[in-house]
Every structure is written in structure tokens, then in C-alpha cells.
């Protein structure tokens, strides 16, 4: 389903062609896309756009196995990269369960349930190359795991929804795949138990500490991965902490969890809410009834939240929820399916000064609005 604000599509063969398209600027504004799964993120652009499909840029440029880095073109499918890395017993936690292209995951700043402990894409990004509004290739970072030379353009491009340009190549940090997985789950955790989990469980070094409801009631879950000895010790420590009400998941079940939560967070079929609140806030209060109506999960390590409402929330519902999140120093955004014409819940409040600064940056980097404008906070349409 093509959004109404898409005027045309161009398939880009390679980086040189992309530069030429931008320089010639025949059909602006442009929006770089991969799998197009997340066109419903943010607001619709101010003007109809030309989609530039980058899926042909699909080379794995270099996998430096012993240096734990991989350099790929933006159009590489996340599944293909996962398979390639698995051959060397490596993985990138931020890509676990993500579909689409690597460039798309970066541009949309997609986050899974492992982000709290192992970081999201911008933590895995070591270097980036993108084509800017002038049609020039701009490089940030590099191919080494530690690097502070130049401004951190990786942070600028992550989550930019294509506003800084078309990402053509990224270098990512890889890790060794864990030898073993484990998880412990508790049903209907009490407020006291949730509070204790927030305070104590981070010291157990979990991969994720989640409060969630996927339709079977309120749950608390601690996920672990690492050496067999360590995971066994972590599971035992967690299991014994709150008596016998726990369920220990098999290693196979535990390993599947990041993918299961990621699958819930795909906006193809309905809206997806994103945001977060302080972990203590997520733990110390019962989830608002409206959230409990749909599947949701909250990360008690850093406070990320994902929510799949059964239907688009009414404005009053959204406002009430946002007030709840704001009470916890957080926010709630909404993604809609790409077929939706508008996204009334696109962005929650953001610091005014920050939006103004992004407006200035956007003007400085792309004064002619070559790249689709209006999708981000601070871009007044």
C-alpha cells in the first residue's frame, strides 16, 4: 500500500547514481527507503515525495571477524546480515528480530527489548556514510571500535528518517553469540516485587528486565545470556528471589524472546506506540487500563516502552496516556501503518529548545529541503 504522499519511486542502482540523482534534483523532495515498513513513522511530509529505494545497495562490504566489526551497504537485509554473522558465531543485539534493511533500522532508530542492556543501533554504529543534500558523500566515525575524531554524525543520522540524507553504508560493532540463554518469568507481580526488581535485578547483569502483557496478564521477566555457568547462576538467583511462583523458560524459549517482542512492534497491521518512562514509574504503578487493552512491554532497565493498541487510540485516550508517561518523565509516540494518511500521535512533546535547534540544523544542512521535510519534531510544515 502506497501512502498518498508518495509521488513516484526510483530504484537506485549504486551510490554514484544516488549522488547524481540528488545533484540533478529533478524530482525533489526525496525520501530514501529500504523495505518501506516504517513509512508510517512520524508525520507525513509537507509535500509529495519521490521514494529512492536503496535495496540494491546490498553488499556486505567487509566482515572483520576478529576485530568484531562489519561494514555493510544500507540496503542489506537484516536477516541476511544475521545469517552471515551467525556463520562466525557473532551477532548484533540491536538487529535481533528486526526485519527490513540495516539502513532502515538506523534511520528509524528501531529498538528491541535488548536495548536497555546492550544498547540500540546508535550504540552499535561505529561509522556511517550518507549522501547529503548536495549529493556529496559524508563520512562520520570509522571502522574501529573506539573513535572520537570529528562530530558524532552517527547520532545525527540515527532516527533522522532520512532528513540528513540517504545512508549508504554503515560499520557496526558485532559481538560473540552467547553460549547459553535463560529466562525467568513471574505472573502477576506485585508492586513491591516490581519495585524490588527495578532496584536489585540490574546487578544480576540481565540482558533484559521486562514488565509486559501480551494478552495473558501482567508479567515480569528477566532474560540472561552468556556462558552456561553464568546463565545457570543468574537464573537460579532470579528464581529463588521471590519464592516458587516463577517459571523458568528453556534456553530455546529464552533465545526466541527478542524476536517475539520485535514481531509485536511492526506497524504493518495497526498502530504501534513507542516511548518510555522512568523504570521506577513503570514498576511502581499498575499499567494504565488503556495500555492493558493491547499488548505492551516496558523495559525496567532504561524505561523503553512498546505498545500495540487494538485500534487507533482516540485523542482523549492518547492525551491521558501521554499525561501518564509525562508523569514518569517520559513520552509516547505513535507509528501508524503506511496506508494511513496522517499520524495524529506522531510525536509527543519535546523540549522546545531542542526542536528549535533541530530546525536550525535542518536549515543549515538542507536549506532547499531536498530531503523530505516535515516528518520530524522541529520541522514545521
Amino acid at each position: 500500500v502506497t501512502p498518498s504522499w508518495v509521488a513516484r519511486r526510483l530504484a537506485v542502482r549504486d551510490e554514484e547514481e544516488l549522488k547524481n540523482i540528488v545533484r540533478e534534483c529533478a524530482f525533489p523532495p526525496y525520501l530514501p527507503v529500504g523495505s518501506e515498513a516504517h513509512l508510517g513513522r512520524g508525520r507525513p511530509p509537507e509535500r509529495p515525495v519521490t521514494l529512492l529505494s536503496l535495496t540494491a545497495l546490498d553488499r556486505i562490504v567487509e566482515h572483520a571477524r576478529e576485530d568484531f566489526t562489519v561494514t555493510v551497504e544500507a540496503g542489506v537485509a537484516t536477516a541476511a546480515l544475521r545469517t552471515r554473522l551467525a556463520e562466525s558465531s557473532q551477532w548484533i543485539p540491536a538487529l535481533e528480530g528486526m526485519e527490513g534493511t540495516v539502513g532502515g533500522v538506523v534511520a528509524c532508530d528501531r529498538r528491541g527489548v535488548l536495548a536497555g542492556a546492550l544498547g540500540s543501533m546508535h550504540d552499535a554504529l561505529l561509522g556511517i556514510r550518507f549522501v547529503d543534500a548536495r549529493g556529496d558523500a559524508v563520512q562520520g566515525g570509522g571502522r574501529v571500535v573506539k573513535n572520537v575524531a570529528g562530530y558524532n554524525l552517527m547520532r545525527l543520522a540515527t532516527g533522522s528518517l532520512g532528513a540528513v540524507g540517504a545512508i549508504v553504508e554503515v560499520t557496526l560493532r558485532t559481538r560473540s553469540r552467547p553460549e547459553s540463554w535463560g529466562a525467568v518469568e513471574w505472573a502477576d507481580p506485585s508492586d513491591v516485587m516490581l519495585g524490588e526488581a527495578v532496584r536489585e535485578a540490574p546487578a544480576w547483569d540481565p540482558l533484559a528486565l521486562l514488565r509486559f502483557d501480551l494478552g495473558e496478564g501482567d508479567r515480569l521477566l528477566a532474560l540472561f545470556a552468556g556462558s552456561r555457568t553464568r546463565v545457570a547462576a543468574q537464573v537460579e538467583r532470579a528464581r529463588s528471589r521471590w519464592g516458587t511462583t516463577s517459571r523458568v523458560l528453556s534456553p530455546e524459549e529464552a533465545r526466541e524472546l527478542p524476536g517475539i517482542f520485535a514481531a509485536y512492534a511492526r506497524p504493518e497491521h495497526g498502530p504501534v506506540g513507542w516511548g518510555g518512562a522512568l523504570p521506577g514509574h513503570l514498576a511502581s504503578r499498575p499499567a494504565p487500563p488503556v495500555i492493558a487493552e493491547g499488548a505492551w512491554w516496558g523495559d525496567l532497565l532504561q524505561g523503553h516502552v512498546g505498545w500495540c493498541p487494538p485500534a487507533p487510540p482516540a485523542p482523549q485516550t492518547l492525551a491521558r496516556l501521554r499525561a501518564w508517561f509525562a508523569d514518569g518523565q517520559g513520552h509516547l509516540h505513535l507509528d501508524v501503518p503506511r496506508s494511513a494518511g496522517a499520524n495524529p500521535g506522531a510525536w509527543d512533546r519535546r523540549r522546545e529548545g531542542e526542536e528549535a535547534l533541530w530546525g536550525r540544523l535542518r536549515t543549515a544542512l538542507d536549506p532547499d529541503r531536498v530531503w523530505a521535510y516535515g516528518r520530524l519534531p522541529g520541522e514545521a510544515s
Binding site: 556529496d136 559524508v138 571500535v145 572520537v148 546487578a203 555457568t229 538467583r237 522512568l278 509527543d348
Partner: protein
Amino acid sequence: MTDDWIRDLEGIVGKEGVVRRPSARAAYECDAYTLERAVPELVVLPRTVEEASRVVARIAAAGRALVPRGAGTSLAGGCLAGEGAVVVALTRLRRIEELDPVNRQALVQGGVVNLALGRTAHRHGLTFAPDPSSQQVCTVGGNVANNSGGPHTLKYGVTVNHVLAVELLTPDGERRWLGGRVPARGGPDLTGLTVGSEGTFGLITRAWVRLVPVSPSVRTLLAAFPDAEAAGGAVNHILAAGLVPAAVEMMDALILEALAAAFGLAFPKGTAALLLVEVDGLDEGLDEEAELIAEACRTAGAFEVRAAHDAEERTLLWTARKRAFGALGRLARNVCTQDGVVPRTRLPEILRFIGEAGRRHRIRIANVFHAGDGNLHPALLYDERDEEEVERVLAASAEILERCLDLGGSLTGEHGIGVEKLALMNRAFSPASLEYMGRVRRAFDPDCRANPGKAVPAGGGCSDAGLVAGAVRALARVRGGREGAP
């Protein structure tokens, strides 16, 4: 100087907060990078964030450039003041305004000392993970400005991974919060962009930082090698085994000589390189990991591997490691510390090259560095009174950094570009990339008055007014004034 604007500054911070006497200003003539020096025209020390804001606004109205400064521990000349520039030192902004142990966060002012934050957090079983060797004095604001690292970044990440929000004091004196206590997902991460901008966007007056639990258990291993290349190979063996130690540090014979003299430590006879490896976490499984590391070291050629006897020895070892550069003062009058990075697998190659560069230029070079990250810290020993020797130090430094780039690495892993490495930025980045960074900078600071002449070559419309006269002589001169020298 009796200008109105200086009197106004005195009115804001009090006379004791404006440093005017030449002898007092001389204390600010350089940071820990001592090859360049310039006594600033004026130094201002605000006591509060509000004062800092008024000070910066007044400096802007006077048309002066400003140079943010923390404790002055930059190793790249990051807080060197140019002609007419005013140093704004935030060392009096040292309050931890809030510490939230439940959510593991703290709100700190820019002048809070890194170790002071760590010690306060320890009372709640938490710590601030970035731990630069200068952590006894360096400030959190400086850490944020430089995206500082430290030995334990291998597992825990650098400063940007631990900053949630910053209060940026823009060059016109406006206070802007970027980010929030809960990581945002709306658009580009301007907080992350600001971290590591080396003061060129403005001053970091406050920050919300993330704290991490103190590890319940730790194992610290020492492995002695007959040569540095074998030690470099051991690092690859350890990480290839799938282990992520908290730290993997390497020290060569020259450093060990200095540490033995300074701390009375005894190292195995014949040690040319020593690895200090630490694993932490729950107690269960740590012995197994330590044994795997020991085995990897033996396989790579270690002739002795042992664990630290007790917590006291561990503390002594880390104290020695973090004061290693100070200990070098026993071997030479001056030290120039470089900060290049190479892919980890190229460690043996770059260590060989550093040795050759030292011999070629007749400079003694000690190596103590974050081997797990491939982040080198060759320390070039010299006497600044010997001009010819200084030239040789500069030449060797430039060669080492250029070699890092040739091997696919970076100019700097944690110290920043400062003035020191500015001339090499054209070697690391394309003109289009540098021009782009220039535009980013001007969006924050249209007049380029915040820390001019640092981090990114000015270019495109920025004159870098206030650049230190003769600064960047170092690498620029050695490279024969090639392109990129401002």
C-alpha cells in the same frame, strides 16, 4: 584592561571570580598537552549555572571568543585559549544536584569531579562507568565535552553511552536542555551529537548521567610476555574466545620501569609487556572466565600469568595503571601522549611501527594503553628545552598517527582532536565531510566563538577568530604545512 565588559563580569561573579593577574592567568596557559601554550587574556570562574549564563552572554556582547575549561586535563590542547579569548572555567559548578538510586541516574553540574561522582554513587551500590586515568581531577563536563573513555570502556562504553541529557549553554548565553531522563526516539539524537563536540557547541553546565551497578565480584589477572607483539596477540585470543572483559590494558617495559620506581611494584623478570585483564559480574562463572583468559595468554606466549592476590593488590595495580603517565615523570622532563586507534588485530603491527619510529627519531616511547579497544597511548619522552628533540617528538607523533589511519584506524579514541591533531583531520575525513561538520558547528555557533580552532577545521565562513597564535604548529609544521593546517 579596564574595559566595561570586564567590570561587568566582576559584577556577575565577584572580583575573586575573574582572574586578571598575569601570574594567576599563567596557570591556564595550557592543559596536559604542553607543547602549545598561550596565557589567556582573562579567566572567569562562575559559581552557579545562572552566573555562567550571564557571563557567557556578556562575553558574547563584548564580541569575544570563549574557551570552556574543566580541570584542564585534556591531552590534546582542547582548552588552549587564543588571542582575545576568555576562558570560562566551570570548576566551581561542582554540585551533584540529584542522585536517583532507583532509576540509577544523577543530575550533576559540569564541574563535578568524575571520581567524586563515582564515590557518591558507590554509597548506593552504583558507579559512573567512564573512568579516565585523570578521574581524580577531571570533571564530568569535560568528560561530556570530550566523550571521555578509560580502561573499563571495553565493557561499559564511553561517556556518550552514559549521558541522558545535557544542559548546553550556547555561545550567546542561552541555556538549552537536550535529551531527557528517558531516552527519546523522536528524530536525531542531538544529545549524542553534542557529547564529544569539544566545547565547540558551547558549555556543558549540567547533565543527567546514567549510573551502573557496582559489580559484585571481580577477578584481575596479570600476564607477563617476553615481547609486546605476543601480548597484542593475546588480546586477540581473549576476545576471539567470546569473552568481554571489563578491561584489557597493556603496559610495556619502559612503563613498568617507571611504575616499579614510583609504586614499589615488582614485575616478573624479563617482562617486555604486561597485560592487566579484569572480568567482573556475578561471582559464579568468573573463575571459569579467568581461566579461559589465562589460557589465551599462555597460548600467545605469556611466561607468567597470575591473579591479583587480594583487593589491596588490585587497588594498587589500578592506581599504578591510572598514574602511569605521572610516573613517567621519573624518566623524562616532558611527555607527549598520543591517542591513535587501530583495529585490534593490527596491534602487533602498530606496536612494531611505534618501536621503529622511536628508534628512527631517537625518542624513547613508552606504551600503556587500552589494548582491548585497540586504543594506543604511546608516550613520547622528551625535554622541552631541547628544540631539536621537540621537533623529533612531533615528527614521530605525526608518523604514528598517520600509520594508525593507514591501518584503518583513527586519530583519537578518547582524547579528542583539540588543537593538536587538527592538521591531520584532512587526512582522516574528506573535504565534503569536514565541510558538513562545519555546517553542523555553525548551526550551534554561527559566529564560531565557542572554542575556536578545536575539533574540526574551521572552513566555510568561520575565521576561527581567537585561534592560538602559532598553535597547531605541532603536526602542521612537521607535515610541511600541508593541506589542512589552519
